[in-house]
């Protein structure tokens, strides 16, 4: 009886693992199989044409804009916030409130961020449906990610580094940017790279704040669509699975590149700091 139960459970474990891997392989395989036919130099670097057959360069540019703008704002704020929480603040009620707020922000679904962005940035601040409105919304989305990863890496900086630097007569600020931040760099960088992944994959919040205009954005105040939104819209409106999958390939390649560079950078920097 025990053997039977053991074998049954063992079989279920194998079956589940097989199912998970098979389904996930199927998705990636499907995207590549369906979309590969469209991938060409012209498709990636060509301008979009509403009649079809055009490229996705405007969507790539829009995606890059949203990444750059939201990181320019979120990175310094996130790092300094983590520095405050870990290095400066007295651990008390204020810190608990800030931590609670940061954690709660992580749990909010992106459609709610989209609602907020659509009313606050688009309407109240009169930015209109635009890249800048979407980027500001994305800033709020990635802020908790950057704060958390930075704080984690600050925790790994040994206390002796701080004590050594302070004992040499450095001020707290000097200790921070000469000693603590450099040794926490690998963790901070991987946090930033994680955020890029989050921004690239985001769709609902961008859909409600940047709009859907399929053209090269004139400035960051124009409405435009990112790769994910494009992939969604061509599926929903035109039922063009092939095109959606081709955009999907570009997205997957970007995500892979981001992940590999994250691993590479943190390995490189870990070596450098350990020397």
């Amino acid at each position: 009886m025990r053997d039977f139960k053991d074998n049954l459970l063992r079989g279920l474990l194998w079956l589940s693992a097989f199912l998970s891997v098979a389904v996930l392989l199927m998705i990636v395989g499907f995207i590549f199989y369906k979309g590969m036919g469209l991938i060409s130099f012209e498709f990636i670097f060509g301008d979009y044409s509403p009649e079809g057959g055009g490229g996705i360069w405007p969507m790539i540019v829009t995606t890059v804009y949203t990444i750059v703008i939201s990181l320019i704002i979120a990175t310094p704020i996130g790092i300094l916030a983590a520095v405050y929480l870990h290095e400066y603040a007295k651990q008390g009620r204020l810190v608990r409130i800030i931590r609670f707020a940061t954690e709660s922000l992580t749990g909010i679904p992106s459609i709610i961020y989209g609602l907020f962005g659509a009313v606050f940035f688009v309407t109240t601040l009169k930015l209109g449906m635009s890249i800048i409105a979407a980027s500001l919304t994305l800033t709020i989305i990635v802020l908790p990610v950057i704060i958390r990863t930075t704080e984690e890496s600050l925790k790994t900086v040994p206390a002796s580094y701080r004590e050594g630097s302070l004992a040499l007569g450095n001020t707290k600020l000097q200790t921070l940017y000469k000693v603590i931040l450099p040794s926490a760099m690998p963790g901070i960088l991987s946090g930033i790279i994680l955020s890029i992944g989050r921004i690239v994959g985001e769709s609902a919040a961008i859909f409600l704040t940047a709009g859907t205009v399929a053209a090269m954005p004139e400035s960051i105040f124009s409405s435009a669509r990112t790769l994910t939104v494009h992939s969604y819209l061509v599926t929903q409106e035109a039922g063009d699975i092939e095109l959606a999958a081709a955009v999907g390939i570009v997205l997957i390649v970007i995500i892979l590149a981001i992940n590999f560079s994250a691993t590479y950078i943190s390995k490189k920097l870990n070596k450098a700091t350990n020397k």
Binding site: R2, K5, D6, L9, L13, W14, S16, A17, L19, S20, V21, L24, M26, I27, V28, F30, I31, K34, I77, G78, A81, A82, L85, A89, I97, I98, A101, S104, L105, G107, I108, P109, I111, I112, Y113, G114, L115, F116, V119, F120, I140, L143, I147, T171, K172, L173, V200, G201, S203, A204, F207, L208, T228, S231, Y232, T235, I241, G248, L251, I255
Partner: protein
């Protein structure tokens, strides 16, 4: 002669020190402001959504009960009932959990306890990468493969249905659940395994009676994270849900969950209609708070 220079020196040092102290205090204030920004944005978000969403009930004279339990959503006729969407969201989430959690958890156990190191070293990072794939692509896959499959297999008029949403969400939460649960299972001390095996408990028995209970809180975290991804998902769900405004009675009914209601109508909604979409947001928000709370309670109870 020497006295004035000394004075001057101390004066200079004093000045430098003053500047240093000034910089110190300014920077620590600046850091605090940055940290407070996350509190401010959270308050702004909740404030805006609740202010906008409660407006029709507080000022406009609409009944909140009718909003929650009304079954008609016809904005042009001033009818706003989201009961079908609430039910659709609950069914879709629970369904995705029923399928996604056991498969994800068993896969995690397999990778941590049964698979050889070489196999695990290939599969685990691959699954981790899949967690980063944009969710829209899961929707595209669902529409292109799962929907036609359901249509043909069960002879449905329309493959976009509750079961299609459940399957897409279950697949989408798999990478998250597997990755987090695997980490939790690997963190169980080796001595637990050895102790149990030494007492004559079989390998499988050890896994299910010793290791899984020991990793319970990490596994719970995995479930909560997967759940968060499922409930909040919007664009992928729109593609496979079908968007019918009915209370679903079977797995093959076409549905419209809360999130998709917001995304589909936000583009053109104005006035009360728009405020009702914010009210939908409030319901979604409370939904997530309640679920997280319940799961936290369950895991706390399990811990005792």
């Amino acid at each position: 002669m020497s006295i004035p220079t000394e004075n001057k020196q101390t004066e200079n040092i004093g000045k430098a020190n003053k500047r240093k102290y000034f910089l110190e205090s300014v920077s620590s204030k600046l850091f605090m402001i940055c940290a407070l920004l996350s509190v401010i944005t959270l308050v702004l978000i909740i404030g805006f959504v609740f202010y906008k969403g409660s407006h029709p009930f507080v000022v406009g004279g609409y009944s909140f009960i009718d909003f929650l339990f009304g079954t008609d959503w016809v904005p042009s006729e001033d009818k706003f009932g989201i009961f079908p969407m609430i039910i659709a969201s609950i069914y879709a989430t629970i369904g995705a959990l029923i399928i996604g959690v056991p498969i994800g958890l068993f896969t995690a156990i397999f990778l941590a306890e049964i698979a050889s190191t070489r196999v695990a070293k290939i599969i685990s990072p691959a699954i981790q990468l899949l967690a980063g794939i944009p969710s829209v692509l899961y929707g595209v896959f669902g529409l292109a493969i799962i929907v036609p499959f359901l249509q043909n297999t069960f002879g449905l008029a329309k493959g976009q249905s509750l079961i299609a949403v459940i399957l897409v969400l279950a697949i989408m939460m798999l990478p998250t659940i597997v990755t987090v649960a695997e980490t939790a299972i690997r963190a169980v001390p080796q001595s637990y395994r050895e102790g149990s095996l030494a007492l004559g408990v079989s390998h499988i028995g050890t896994i299910f009676r010793v290791i899984v209970p020991a990793a319970k809180s990490g596994i719970m975290t995995a479930v909560v994270l997967g759940l968060g991804r499922a409930i909040g998902e919007t664009m992928a769900v729109i593609l496979v849900a079908g968007n019918s405004l009915i209370v679903p009675t079977s797995l093959t009914d076409s549905i419209r969950p809360l999130t998709t209601n917001i995304a589909l109508e936000m583009g053109y909604a104005a006035g009360t209609h728009q405020e009702m979409l914010f009210a939908t947001g409030i319901v979604l928000f409370s939904f997530i708070l309640i679920l997280n709370f319940v799961l936290a309670k369950i895991s706390a109870k399990g811990g005792n």
